[in-house]
Amino acid sequence: MRLDDPCIKKLEPPKLNVFERTYLPQIIDGLAVTGRHILGVLRGESITIEYPEQPHRPSPNYRGVHRLNKDEEGRVKCVACMLCATACPVHCIDIIGATAPEGWSDREKYPASFVIDELRCIFCGMCEEACPVDAVELTSFYDLTGLSREEMIFDKTKLLSVYDLTKDSEPSRMGNLTTF
C-alpha cells in the first residue's frame, strides 16, 4: 500500500476540553482501577495464579513457539517462498527450498529444510504475517526450555510436531486459505 493511497484514513488525536486538560479525570480513572483490584483481593478474588500447579492460559493472540502447519493430505503447507525469512528482523529462519516431489500437482516448491533458531527469535510474529499460505504460525506455548543450544534450534520435524500437538487446541488463526 502506498502512502498516498486514497483508501488510507488518517486519524487525529481527540481534542481535550478544559476539564480533561487538568488530567484529573484520568487520574481518578486510574485510581479507580487500583481500588477495584484492592477490593477484589479483599473479597478473595485473586489476580495471580498458582503456577505451575495451575496452568496459565495466554490470550488467543499470544505469540509463543512456532509451528509449521500441514495441509489436508498431511504434507507441509509451506511453499519455501522465504518471505518469513525475509521479514524476520533477527534472521532466525533458515530455509532450503527445493522443487516439489513428483505428484505434488498443486505446488512446485517445498522446503527441503526449515529451521528456526528459537533462541534468536524475538517472537514478533512477522513471519506469521508474511506467510502467504499460512504455513508458519505462533502457538500459545510459552514455557520453552532446553538443555542445550542445539536443542533450541527447531528443524522441520520438530516444527511439524508442534502442529500435531496444538492443532486441536488451537485451530489455524488465519482460516484455511487456498494454496498455490
Binding site: V79, A80, C81, T86, G97, T99, R107, E108, V133, F180
Partner: protein, 581 residues
C-alpha cells in the same frame, strides 16, 4: 543537433544518433516502461506497454500536432522536433489497461516464482497497474514444460513479448523457439527433438522479463533479493565477458551477463554461465602444505611463506637459478608482484608464461540486420559475440608484465624443457586453472629438474602432489584484479567471495613475500604502481579503469566500437533487473 520535447521540457541530442523514444527518454532520466523491446533485437512493438502520445512541432510557427492515437515509443525515432507526452492521464490509463490485459492469465504465484524480485510484471504492476482483478472467466493454465535440459518454460507466466523467440532467430540464428497457436492460446514452444541447446541458450532466461523461462540450475535455490551482486569478469575464455557473480551465504549461485559493447554486448555463453561452480567446489585446496619427511603437512600460511622465502633466498645466494611459471589465470597485479619478487631475489631468474589451455575453435555469432529479423531493425547495432578457444582470461596481460621484466616472453614449452634439462635449482609454479594445467608426466619432469619446488594452485593436482611447498591460491571469485582480454582490453573484476578458510588471496601472498608490510594489500594500489611503471598499462593510470575497461598500449581494437557519448556507450540494464530502490 536534434531537439526533442518530452513532457513539455526541451532536450537536445548531440550526436545525431538514430535512437528510439525509449532510449532518448532514458537518457534524460524519464522512464517509459516496456517489455518486448530490447536494444539488440528488432522492434516488434507487441507488448504495447511503451505507448505514449507522440507529435511533432513545426520549428517555424511553433505549432505542435499530436497523433490522434497512442504510439509505441520503441518504434518512434527520436528525430528532430519530436514531441513526446509520457505522463498524461491518457497514457497512464492506457498503461493500467495494458497491465490488466497482460495479467489476465498470469497466475498469482510470485512467492514460488524465481523471477520475483527482478520481475517486470511486479515492478510495472506496482507502478502502473491496478490492485483489483476483474477477470471472472477461468484462467488459461499451461503446464510447465522443458525447452531444454537446462531451461524450463512456465507458459502460464508468459506475456508473449517474444524476446526469446527473436533472440534465437536474430542473435544465434538457430530459431529453436517459436510461437505456437494463436490469440489467447498462443504459447512459446520448441519442436519435438529440436530443443533449445545452442551455446548461448541461457541468455533467453536473462532477457525474459517475467518468470516464464527459468534456469533449472538456479531453480528454487535462492530468492534473488538475498543475492549480492559483484561486478566481475568471466575467466572461462579470453573474451573476458562482463558478468555479475551473485553470492549469498558464502557461495556463488549464478552468473549474469553485464552489458559491455566492446566485449560481450548483452550476452554470455552457457559455459561461462555455469562456470560459477568452480568457486563452490568442495575439492578446492583448504590449506597450505609443506613437505616434511616425505609427507605433506598442513602448515599455517605464515610458516609456509617463510619457508618459500628462506629456501629461494638460499638457492639464489648459492648461485642457483630460479624459474617462475606465471599462470595466465593470474590477474595483472598478481603477475606483476610475482615477477617483481622473483626478479628481486635473483636477476638471473627466468620468467615464463604458464600453459595456455585451448579447446576447439573460436565460435563467433555475428548478428546481421537482414538475417532472421522480424521487425524494425533501424535502432539495432550489430556486434559480434565470440567464444574463444583460448580458455584462460589473461594471456595478454601476463605476457605484457613478463615482457616488461625480462624483455622477452618465454612460453611453457621451452621453459618446461629447460627445467627438465636441469638448468634451474628452484621453480615457483602458479596455476589456479580450473583443470590441472600440468599432467603427471609434466609434473614429474618439473620435479626431477629442480631441488626446490613451490606450487601455488587452487586444487590438488599431480604437480602439487610432488611440490615442496603448496600454497593455496584463490579462485576467480575470491580475488580482485584486472584481466586483459584477447582484444587487449583491461577490465577489472571485483572479489565476490571472501577467501576460503585457511587461504590467502594470491596478491597477499606475493605482497608478504615482497615484504611490503603487514597491511592488507589493495589491488588498485598495485595497479596504480604498475601503470606508472609499465608504459603499456598507462590506460590504468592511478589505478582507475573506465566503466567498460580500457585498451592497453593505447591501441583501440578493430571491433565496431560505439562513439563516445552515444547511447550504446552507456550502461544498459532492463529496468526490472537488479535491486529496486
Amino acid at each position: 543537433m536534434t531537439t526533442i520535447y518530452i513532457d513539455g521540457d526541451e532536450f537536445t541530442l548531440e550526436n545525431g544518433e538514430h535512437i528510439n523514444a525509449i532510449q532518448a527518454a532514458a537518457r534524460f532520466g524519464i522512464e517509459i516502461p516496456y517489455y518486448c523491446w530490447h536494444p539488440a533485437l528488432s522492434v516488434v512493438a507487441n507488448c504495447r506497454m511503451c505507448e505514449v502520445e507522440v507529435g511533432s512541432r513545426d520549428p517555424k510557427t511553433g505549432e505542435i500536432r499530436m497523433l490522434p492515437k497512442l504510439v509505441p515509443a520503441c518504434q518512434t525515432p527520436a528525430k528532430d522536433q519530436t514531441v513526446l507526452i509520457t505522463k498524461s492521464p491518457k497514457v497512464l490509463e492506457h498503461r493500467r489497461m495494458i497491465m490488466e490485459l497482460l495479467l489476465l492469465n498470469h497466475p498469482l504465484d510470485c512467492p514460488v516464482c524465481d523471477q520475483a524480485g527482478e520481475c517486470g510484471l511486479q515492478d510495472f504492476s506496482y507502478d502502473h497497474g491496478r490492485a483489483e482483478h476483474r477477470f471472472v472467466e477461468t484462467r488459461n493454465v499451461n503446464p510447465r514444460k522443458d525447452v531444454s535440459d537446462r531451461i524450463q518454460l512456465n507458459a502460464d507466466r508468459c506475456i508473449m513479448c517474444t524476446r526469446c523467440v527473436r533472440f534465437t532467430r536474430e542473435i544465434t540464428r538457430t530459431g529453436e523457439l517459436q510461437v505456437m497457436r494463436r490469440g489467447e492460446h498462443a504459447e512459446i514452444g520448441v519442436f519435438p527433438e529440436y530443443e533449445l541447446d545452442n551455446p548461448l541458450a541461457g541468455n533467453v532466461v536473462d532477457i525474459c522479463p517475467v518468470g516464464a523461462l527459468l534456469d533449472k540450475d538456479f531453480l528454487h535455490k535462492q530468492r534473488v533479493w538475498f543475492l549480492s551482486k559483484h561486478d566481475s569478469i568471466c575467466t572461462g575464455c579470453s573474451t573476458g565477458c562482463n558478468i555479475t557473480v551473485e553470492e549469498n551465504k558464502g557461495a556463488a549461485w549464478r552468473h549474469k551477463p553485464r552489458y559491455n559493447p566492446h566485449v560481450n554486448d548483452y550476452w554470455i555463453c552457457d559455459e561461462g554461465r555455469y562456470g560459477y561452480k568452480v568457486a563452490n567446489d568442495p575439492e578446492l585446496l583448504d590449506a597450505t602444505y609443506v613437505l616434511e619427511d616425505g609427507d605433506h603437512r598442513a602448515t599455517p600460511i605464515d610458516q609456509a611463506i617463510a619457508a618459500v622465502s628462506r629456501n629461494l633466498a638460499l638457492i639464489a645466494r648459492e648461485g642457483g637459478k630460479i624459474a617462475a611459471i606465471v599462470s595466465p589465470f593470474l590477474t595483472v597485479e598478481e603477475a606483476y608482484l610475482l615477477c617483481k619478487y622473483i626478479k628481486a631475489i635473483s636477476p638471473s631468474s627466468v620468467l615464463a608464461i604458464g600453459p595456455i589451455p585451448r579447446s576447439g575453435e573460436d565460435a563467433t555469432w555475428l548478428p546481421d540486420k537482414s538475417q532472421g529479423r522480424t521487425g524494425d531493425v533501424s535502432f539495432v547495432v550489430c556486434r559480434p559475440f565470440t567464444i574463444r578457444a583460448e580458455k584462460c582470461p589473461n594471456r595478454r596481460g601476463v605476457e605484457e608484465v613478463v615482457r616488461h621484466f625480462q624483455g622477452e616472453v618465454i612460453d611453457y614449452a621451452s621453459i618446461g624443457a629447460r627445467i627438465g634439462g636441469g638448468e634451474f635449482q628452484a621453480a615457483y609454479v602458479t596455476s589456479n586453472a580450473p583443470e590441472p594445467a600440468f599432467d603427471e608426466s609434466a609434473a614429474t619432469t618439473i620435479r626431477r629438474g629442480v631441488s626446490f619446488l613451490v606450487v601455488q594452485d587452487t586444487r590438488i593436482t599431480p604437480l602439487a602432489n610432488q611440490a615442496d611447498v603448496v600454497l593455496a591460491g584463490g579462485t576467480y571469485a575470491e580475488k580482485a584484479g584486472c584481466y586483459v582480454n584477447h582484444d587487449g582490453r583491461l577490465q577489472f573484476a571485483e572479489a565476490a567471495l571472501p577467501p576460503r578458510e585457511g587461504v590467502l588471496p594470491d596478491l597477499d601472498v606475493f605482497s608478504i613475500l615482497l615484504e611490503r608490510g603487514a597491511a592488507p594489500i589493495r589491488s588498485f594500489d598495485v595497479l596504480a604502481e604498475l601503470a606508472a611503471e609499465i608504459e603499456v598499462f598507462a590506460v590504468a593510470a592511478g589505478g582507475r579503469i573506465a566503466e567498460f575497461g580500457g585498451t592497453i598500449g593505447g591501441v583501440e581494437s578493430n571491433r565496431s566500437a560505439p562513439k563516445n557519448g552515444s547511447v550504446y556507450e552507456q550502461v544498459y540494464q532492463d529496468p526490472w533487473a537488479g535491486v529496486r530502490r
